[in-house]
Symmetry: D2
Subunit: 358 residues, 4 copies
């Protein structure tokens, strides 16, 4: 009997649970046993396995873990996640491979972000084991995929928060700086700015120093109030390393009237029921991951990709496999700001965003 | 001075308001006057214009309609919509063209579904006027576009409702049939089924008669409870013409225990704050519509399209223009079930959905 | 060691889960073992017990059921519910008492509506067992309590749905009839009407026949559109036995323009995360239920009651115990329309509602 | 013709808009003209009046401001709010009274918090003008009323955020400190703690110094993880003057594993669609305010109060009038921690909360 194991790793993202559920359902249909690994690579090193799907014997119905069955609407990950220092060493990975071998596991699915996929790549390279990755990160900073699991939900949460903030901002004619996650990548900030109708975006990719940041916001706030706006909204990416409290202090010192406030959305954005899109992406990527495993692939990641393969049919984005090595290379380019794709995406969005906040 | 007019028409869709707002912002930046037409083509025939954006003179700030400024988080359409019998006649369209000419309008943007776009096409053909369409329909039944405005929000509303229904279904071990909109097209039902983890989908495209529908649901419900499921969920498209009350009656007569219930989601699904994705699509399509107008295009529709143009860059879906004639042809194919693209999309989704309800 | 059992019964209500959680936490602190009974009285008859809280021995930490710990934000009831014909007979209740005795249970907490509380009263009367009830019903039709668990969440869900419907109604200048639950009691309809700003309410308590219902709605719709309203909203209680489809047909035959639509909210209203108020009420009533049990009380219900006991302090509603017999008597009066309290409440609300839809 | 004016002042609270709408509807029915004052007392000093309701002449339909009609689901206040230094002086208030006299206003309704109500009291005392207050403050720190407008919505927003945070906390086995508003009053923190199932609450009223705060949280976090909890949640009131960043740093220095995080909810909590309860309270208080005005009352506030007046009927909280002087005295007691009522309420809640986090 074939056995697959799955773990969720790194920062949790809404959609990890539906990905687990879909994986379980596909395994059940294919007669594959699915083991869940608790707390990411850390749990793997401890052999914290837990049966998620046991195929029915003699044509009987498969047995599903109780949480797996009902989890598609839950935020977080019911398997738990963790960061593991040990797994970053080859010795740790050897230990993990031994645990997997002992449990009779033929393949491992890793659902996570950059660090987690790098771990998956190393494990696939160093050991005889089929490893498939699923991109999950609210920051959308993973290479080769148009969207990673969690981005859509996070953006819905962010714009709902921005709408709430706009309610109170309009009541008082205030300017608000809203900080969103994305330490290395401004995608979340830029996409949120378009949807929230923000007046400006601050991203690490713009390369502004503190003074330039303050000046940019000051200009935006003055222009907005000058032309009679009831609220001014600036989305700031976490990657711009000026604390919001400092920004607010400096701006209120420059602009009379004590109009400027800030809110750091923080971890609220990680939680919540996964959106339609995240559930659909998660289901689709999980489906493909089992197929990849069945085809004997290893060291690959399933990606939600808009391509034209199949000719005129591809109005829908499709799912494709990419070697993890390529994924990681593109990811590094995203993170150090040299990715042509990401630059192009941000520019394309900036053209729209730049207009919407007028 | 250039003047553009805009109307929303047909069934309203969440995202129409952000489309209007984005249109206004782009016009303001391009120095274009934007007039809003109230109540769709009906209002056009009555000359119900209302200034949405008046560019600032001598470099001054533009003036925006108060509702336009704050509407990106509102459901519905603040301009109002309506169905117009008169506009379906050439005489009515001539009258409309005269109203537009009298108001000094150089181009018209039509935000709506199939009927509305057909009207736009006829107007563009019969009169000297640049007409650009934006696809808006929660049913996703419009040709040439991967997504139309409103689909993503409607799906989020549907799966939230399905999650609520699952709460009560699990408490009582019940089977629920949830009917969603989509008279001619099963996209909404199928996409919802994937995201909600439904056990089965009923769509007009499956061509089942009443007896076959009842038998399909009966089989699904029995199989679900036999293998110990706490809830069984069936998504039914409006296009399957068996009333839910009748379905429930027949199923409870066949399956002992009075377990089956139904809910018709209806108009609740049209409303609500537009999602991130709908706001982004709406903004992007509106942006492109003004560019198309500036380039002198007419009889075209802006579409959210996943293509590979531009080589490896197109990880993001892009926006493209299609002749309205082609859009309407593809739409007819969707509606009569002969569209290869839609069949391919439904099949692709069915492969996933078929597994998720196991 | 003292042992308490708990079951949820009848129609599920949001807030049942936080009630279970609070009960578990209070038991843990008091060193009481808590057993959960699955599927209401039906599970009780089958002896379907499951440990929810096991107090720590020798000062150790108590052990909690995994679902109990995390359930305060879930809709429905993780213990399951059911209707039981057998328990309505004395023989069935004797069997239930035997099951409880065998499991070493000293007291039973019943969380449910009218039927469930009647069952609890009979059990308490016929057998040596402390029985305490908690009122849970989205209809607010239980005597002696100002609010029952689930009402506040249901009302939040209803007005959110009404707001969504208003979005689309305003877009098309339509009149909507929204049917809400409440077979015997119009509280939900009336309270929703105030909060949604409805133009009229239809309740069983008004004693209108079909013709009078149609005429009332017709008058409301005409008056609303005559004075230029963009949407007309009528809330209809399930207890008014005219099907919505029929109402819509008749009204569109009387009022030209095909303006009238209807939506039946149905089971969507039962689900969803419990609101703040329902969690607070549930926690408070559960807290009091354990105290009542510890004091040796039986055949009582804890009620959320606005009283002036304690003098000027009672700005907050407080929790009081009422004999189940009294509760059931007042409930009967609510259901047959003779309750002075309920009439007074509906009248008080009607005075406000009557004005808000003007 | 009688004329009433209304303003919203101080920090905005969800429910201000439905209060304005209800006020307008009651005025329309009573044939009273309603003027809206923009931007609170500041707008009053500038004479920024705007007609909200103009009764119909000769039995005609009243005319309503467009925003007034549709605002019951909006957060914030469409009239705008502001803080006014000038109005705090008697000279400013004389100017305001002159503006009101010039506009032919017979009475003023003030919707706001403590400062706003103090201003209203002074105005009523110093000038010939009927002034009625409506308590609106998300902090629930206003005397004589059980609930003020905005509290229920704010609590729903807070617990939804806590649920989201719990998703990610559980995924990583983390402890979260969530800071909520309430500079002078811990009500919001305490009520949120009950509903969110928090492990501990930090309020100014507890009188802890920084060291005691750190120790209390440390103890809670250690105890929670020791007994195997997946997440520890501490609600901190804004009034506890230890910055969250500092608390996190100190706690992670004391507790190994880098488990502790914090989120400051901030202004997000002020916005959002008002809940059922806030709409109902707002409608009821507005209704009563017009009645009070018609009865010639001045210097009073309408309060949502649980009393036993009317004997056994008062299962529902009722609305009562209190002299503003008494309200302000009780409010001062709340703010300096000497209010017996508030202490009793916090204690009552603490008894419940203390158990729920076990």
């Amino acid at each position: 009997m074939t056995t697959l194991a799955v773990l969720t790793s790194g920062g949790d993202a809404p959609g990890m649970n539906p990905a687990l559920r879909a994986l379980g359902k596909v395994c059940a249909q294919s007669g594959i046993t699915l083991l869940g690994v608790e707390r990411g690579y850390e749990g793997l090193l401890e052999g914290a396995f837990r049966p998620l799907v046991t195929p029915g014997e003699g044509g009987g119905a498969p047995r599903f873990d109780r949480e797996l069955e009902g989890c598609q609407g839950w935020g977080g990950t019911f398997l738990g996640s963790a960061r593991s220092a040990r797994f970053r060493e080859a010795a740790g990975r050897a230990e993990a491979a031994a645990q997997l071998a002992e449990a009779g596991v033929d393949g491992l699915v890793v659902i996570g972000g950059n660090g987690s996929l790098a771990g998956a790549a190393a494990l696939a390279e160093e050991h005889e084991l089929r490893v498939v990755g699923l991109p999950a990160s609210i920051d959308n900073d993973i290479g080769c995929t148009g969207l990673s699991i969690g981005v859509d939900t996070a953006l819905n949460t962010i714009i709902e928060a921005c709408d709430r903030i706009a309610d109170t901002a309009r009541a008082h004619r205030r300017a608000f700086i809203v900080e969103v996650m994305g330490r290395e990548c401004g995608y979340l900030a830029m996409a949120a700015a378009i949807a929230a109708g923000a007046d400006a975006v601050l991203m690490r990719e713009q390369g502004r120093d503190e003074r330039a940041v303050v000046e940019a916001v000051e200009k935006t706030v003055r222009a907005g109030f000058d032309r009679g706006k009831k609220r001014v909204l600036v989305i700031k990416s976490e990657g711009v390393r000026v604390p919001c409290t400092k920004l607010v202090r400096e701006l209120n010192a420059r602009i009379p009237g004590d109009h400027v406030r800030a809110t750091v959305l923080g971890h609220v954005v990680r939680g919540g029921a996964p959106s339609y899109m995240d559930r659909r992406i998660a289901s689709r990527l999980a489906f493909q991951a089992v197929r990849a495993f069945e085809e004997g692939q290893t060291g690959t990641m399933t990606a939600w990709r808009a391509t034209a393969e199949g000719g005129s049919k591809t109005v829908d984005p499709t799912v494709r496999l990419f070697p993890l090595a390529q994924v990681l290379e593109e990811t590094r380019a995203v993170l150090d700001g040299t990715s042509a794709v990401m630059r192009w995406r941000l520019e394309m969005m900036e053209r729209v965003a730049g207009v919407l906040g007028v």
